[in-house]
């Protein structure tokens, strides 16, 4: 399994204090909350490892220590504003040179990307607390380690159908296992998929929840390749960039995956060999599809005799939840579409009212009508931003979790497979024993030695597989608990953020109409 990090974790009480401190800071001012947004490389809520005694044990295990560090994210968050790399990633309103430069880079490929990349700016409130990384490090005892990742600067490389988008992956970390504190590499989408394939293959029967990579999209990519520079392809690129960022963040949040050399290579190495087995119509691709089909058939026929039905009920829970989240995602998707529609219709209406106002003879009414047109215009912008929030904060979260729950189900299936393997080995062992008995009875000493060897071989296999099964069972349980915590935190955080965006919209609405009211009253 994942290697031990070879460090002694500091005693927990320190953790607690520091986290309590950070908690207070987080909850203290609205500004800090506003500053946290999905585009930063870090998450915003620290975990409290000592919340339950047995969970404390989990966290004292190897590798999990690192994970709790990742969640001292307020440091990472505020330091983001200082480091150039991350100001680009965060697209904040702090007007440092680097920020504007960074933003220009993002806007680089298409002019129309302005629409989608500028919009998030206005979601955020302008006031952002800036703290230098050094200050924050001093505040903590310096024992904590962190890892922040940002995916930025999508750039189109090449032309025509062989073109691809290249993304900048920037890492900022204090973990000693990396050569530098900050480093950047460029990666393309198939690199990310390749990483997922590698991790999937390595962990195939371990019972870990491997975060799924973002999905391919032939339509989306073709538009980009063909060079169609409109807002939908810019939106697609932005959607993909954000998805890739979230993917990496989830990967490094997983304690054992972070230790994986492939992950490190992905983050650090300048040039990665091209991952060819990720193409849909390649040999490995087709093989995958066939395997998946056969897996589906297998699933239906296995049932484990369990001592406690934790696994059975948990799996049922997971399946229910997946279904409900799908439904929720569909509803949010519908909302996004209707808001976009509302946006368009409001813009059209606004123009129509402006025309009406220009015809109207009464000058006060004419003025009021053109004011109304302006109000509707502002509403259109508000609707657009809201739709953006709806999508990026809520819809993508839900889509991610539907897929993650699929990955969770995979874990259960893996355990199932391990058990099956164990069963088969036990059956084989039994057969070998019977064969030996028969030989003894038939008195054929030459073959006896072979039979004894066979039995030994299978006995050791059975005990190996028993250990494997125990281990997988333990891992799956652990993973599910970790996942649930993360999920709870993720959902709460995102929903709170979403509600804040709604709040912001309503504030702006109030301002719009308050400005209009006197104009309406002035009609005479």
């Amino acid at each position: 399994m994942s290697g031990s990090c070879g460090r002694n974790p500091p005693p927990f009480p320190d953790n607690e204090d520091l986290e309590a401190e950070i908690d207070a800071r987080v909850l203290d001012s609205d500004e800090e909350d506003e500053g946290e947004d999905i585009f930063t490389g870090a998450r915003s809520k620290p975990t409290t490892p000592t919340s339950a005694p047995d969970e404390g044990d989990i966290f004292s295990e190897e590798g999990s220590y690192i994970r709790s560090d990742v969640h001292h994210t307020t440091n990472g968050l505020h330091s983001d504003e200082e480091l150039d790399l991350f100001t680009e990633a965060t697209v904040e309103l702090t007007l440092t040179n680097t920020t504007s430069q960074g933003r220009r880079e993002i806007i680089g490929p298409t002019a129309s990307a302005c629409n989608t990349t500028h919009v998030p700016n206005s979601i955020l409130k302008p006031s952002i607390v800036t703290k230098t990384m050094e200050e924050l490090e001093e505040e903590e005892s310096g024992d904590q380690f962190e890892l922040n990742i940002a995916v930025t600067n999508p750039e189109k490389i090449g032309d025509g159908m062989t073109a691809y988008m290249s993304y900048k992956v920037s890492t900022q970390t204090t973990l000693p296992m990396f050569a530098n504190k900050t480093f950047t590499v460029r990666r393309r989408f198939s690199d990310f998929l390749g990483l997922y394939e590698k991790m999937s293959a390595k962990n195939s029967l371990m019972g870990c929840i491997i975060p799924p990579a973002p999905q391919k999209s032939v339509v989306g990519m073709t538009k980009v390749k063909v060079g169609k520079e409109d807002s939908s392809s810019a939106e697609f690129v932005e959607k993909r960039r954000a998805a890739l960022e979230r993917y990496l963040q989830r990967v490094v949040a997983h304690p054992s995956l972070l230790q994986d050399p492939d992950v490190r290579e992905f983050l650090e190495r300048d040039e990665l060999p091209r991952a060819v087995n990720t193409q849909t119509l390649s040999g490995p691709g087709l093989l995958k599809m066939i395997n998946r089909a056969s897996d589906a058939v297998n699933k239906m026929t296995i049932k484990i005799n369990e001592s406690d039905n934790w696994f059975e009920s948990k799996l049922q829970e997971v399946e229910n939840e997946e279904q409900l989240l799908r439904r929720l995602h569909a509803a949010v998707d519908s909302l996004v579409n209707h808001r976009k529609e509302l946006c368009i219709n409001t813009a059209v209406f606004s123009k129509s009212v402006a025309m009406l106002g220009s015809v109207e003879e009464n000058s006060a009414l004419s003025r009021a009508l053109s004011q109304l047109a302006e109000v509707e215009d502002k509403m259109e912008q508000l609707h657009q931003q809201q739709a953006f929030s709806d999508f990026f904060i809520l819809a993508e979260l839900l889509a991610d979790y539907v897929r993650l729950l699929g990955a969770v189900r995979c874990c259960f299936e893996q355990r199932m497979k391990v058990w099956q393997r164990l069963q088969e080995a036990q059956i084989t062992l039994q057969k070998k024993r019977e064969a030996e008995a028969k030989l003894l009875w038939a008195n054929k000493p030459e073959k006896l030695q072979q039979a004894k060897d066979d039995i030994n071989e299978w006995e050791s296999k059975v005990s190996q597989y028993e250990r494997d099964f125990e281990r997988v069972t333990c891992t799956v349980r652990k993973e599910v608990l970790r996942f649930e915590k993360e999920k709870a935190r993720d959902f709460k955080q995102h929903i709170v953020k979403y509600l804040e965006s709604l709040l912001h919209t309503q504030h702006r609405l109030v301002k719009c109409w308050e400005a209009f009211l006197p104009e309406a009253k002035a009609i005479a």
């Binding site: 909850l27 809520k45 829970e317 229910n320 939840e321 409900l324 989240l325 439904r327 929720l328 509803a331 949010v332 519908s334 909302l335 209707h338 808001r339 529609e341 509302l342 219709n345 409001t346 059209v348 209406f349 129509s352 009212v353 025309m355 009406l356 015809v359 109207e360 003879e361 009464n362 006060a364 009414l365 009021a368 009508l369 109304l372 999920k487 709870a488 959902f491 709460k492 929903i495 709170v496 509600l499 804040e500 709604l502 709040l503 309503q506 504030h507 609405l509 109030v510 109409w513 308050e514 209009f516 009211l517 309406a520 009253k521 009609i523 005479a524």
Partner: protein
């Protein structure tokens, strides 16, 4: 199916505004004649309005009385005004549109069919929604019929019309049947002829600057209002769809929240509750925009058409007058049928001058009414939007406070 539930009509009107519901017109309520619709009943295909009159005029037998009328009888009254030559010089208040519950009924039917595929809570919720929608359409149609009557009652000449008094007072069925197919076809042809004629007449340049200006203005205004009305409808429909989506989100969150009793589930339940409430507000926003903005535009679409009709009639009279003049000159030149030509010319002249005189005043009144109505509605729209946005704000703030405090 659902109609039975709504047959207990009387109660629904005892809501917010009980006074003159003349939203789109600013009318002086005059003690000598006050008309309103005090009640309405929805029965299958028909809506029965209870028209209530209060008057100090001597021609009525009582001071206060009510009758029951249906939509067709309103149309009959309107048409009688239009066909009356005496009223050619006035803007005839536009007829109220036919009550249209088809869309709502269709939705209810679809809901009934899809009952099996959703949970009981979802079904009851959607049913309540649709019933509320039905009610809203109902209220609107009542308001529009009332506005028509109030406009007639406020008009110095039309209020004296005999048909109008019969309409108000005669407490038996007026036996006004809806137009049959032949009559509808006749109407259609009449309209075609009229619009062709209208184009011809409009082409004639008017000597009077005032009317010439009005002609151009009304034409353009009418087109712009038509455009705005259609677009406001589309915008509001999108808004309603978005509110419906929030409804679905709230229900699904609720289901998620009831799966377990973990922290996250409690969180979901709270958020679900919040969305329920904000959805209601969003639905109200859409409904208010519909009432204050869309209905306003629709009404002035119809009124500007009525004004255009007036101008057409005047134009027609002008053409007739000019033709009569030419005929008279010809007759004098030939010295044949001079007397006849003279009388015709006199009649035409009188007609034209009568129309012109009242038309001028009518058009000026139209302007005043329009400005007042827009002012009233825009102010109310802004106030309502503010009220709802602030309501939303409060809900969101308190919910966020609770959620952040918990976590």
């Amino acid at each position: 199916m659902m109609q039975e539930g709504l047959d207990d009509g009387p109660d629904f009107l005892s809501e917010e505004d009980r006074g003159p519901r003349a939203v789109n017109v600013d009318l002086q309520t005059d003690a000598t004649l006050q008309v309103d619709i005090s009640d309405a009943l929805s029965e299958r295909d028909k809506v029965k309005f209870t028209v209530h009159t209060k008057s100090t005029l001597p021609n009525f037998k009582q001071n206060e009385f009510s009758v029951v009328r249906q939509h067709e009888e309103f149309i009959w009254l309107h048409d009688s005004f239009v066909e009356n030559e005496e009223y050619a010089g006035y803007i005839i208040p536009p007829a109220p549109p036919r009550p249209d519950f088809d869309a709502s009924r269709e939705k209810l039917q679809k809901l009934g069919e899809g009952e099996g595929s959703m949970t009981k809570e979802e079904f009851t919720k959607m049913k309540q929604e649709l019933e509320a929608e039905y009610l809203a359409i109902f209220k609107k149609t009542v308001a529009m019929h009332e506005v028509f009557l109030c406009r007639v009652a406020a008009h110095p000449v039309l209020r004296k019309d005999l048909n109008f008094h019969v309409f108000l007072e005669y407490n038996q069925d007026l036996s006004v049947r809806g137009k049959n197919k032949k009559e509808k076809l006749e109407d259609f042809f009449k309209n075609v002829v009229k619009s062709a004629d209208g184009v011809l007449v409009a082409g004639v340049k008017d000597v009077d600057d005032f009317f010439e200006h009005e002609k151009t203005f009304l034409l353009e205004y009418h087109n712009r209002v038509k455009d705005s009305s259609a677009k406001s409808d589309r915008m509001i429909r999108s808004h309603k769809s978005a509110a419906d989506d929030i409804n679905r989100i709230a229900s699904t969150l609720y289901t998620l929240g009831t799966q377990d009793s973990t922290d996250l589930c409690k969180f979901f339940l709270k958020v679900s509750e919040l969305f329920e409430k904000t959805r209601k507000i969003e639905a109200r926003v859409a409904a208010d925009e519909d009432l204050k903005l869309a209905d306003l535009l629709k009404y002035y679409l119809r009124e500007s058409q009525a004004a255009k009709d007036l101008l057409y009639r005047r134009g027609r009279a002008l053409v007739d007058y000019e033709n009569a003049n030419k005929a008279l000159d010809k007759a004098r030149a030939k010295n044949k049928d001079v007397l006849q030509a003279e009388t015709t010319q006199q009649v035409c002249c009188q007609k034209f001058e009568k129309i012109s005189e009242s038309a001028k005043q009518e058009l000026i009144d139209f302007k005043t009414r329009r400005v007042a109505a827009f002012r009233k509605n825009l102010v109310e729209l802004a106030e309502l939007e503010l009220k709802h946005a602030k309501g939303n704000l409060q809900l969101l703030q308190s919910c966020l406070g609770v959620l952040k405090g918990d976590t």
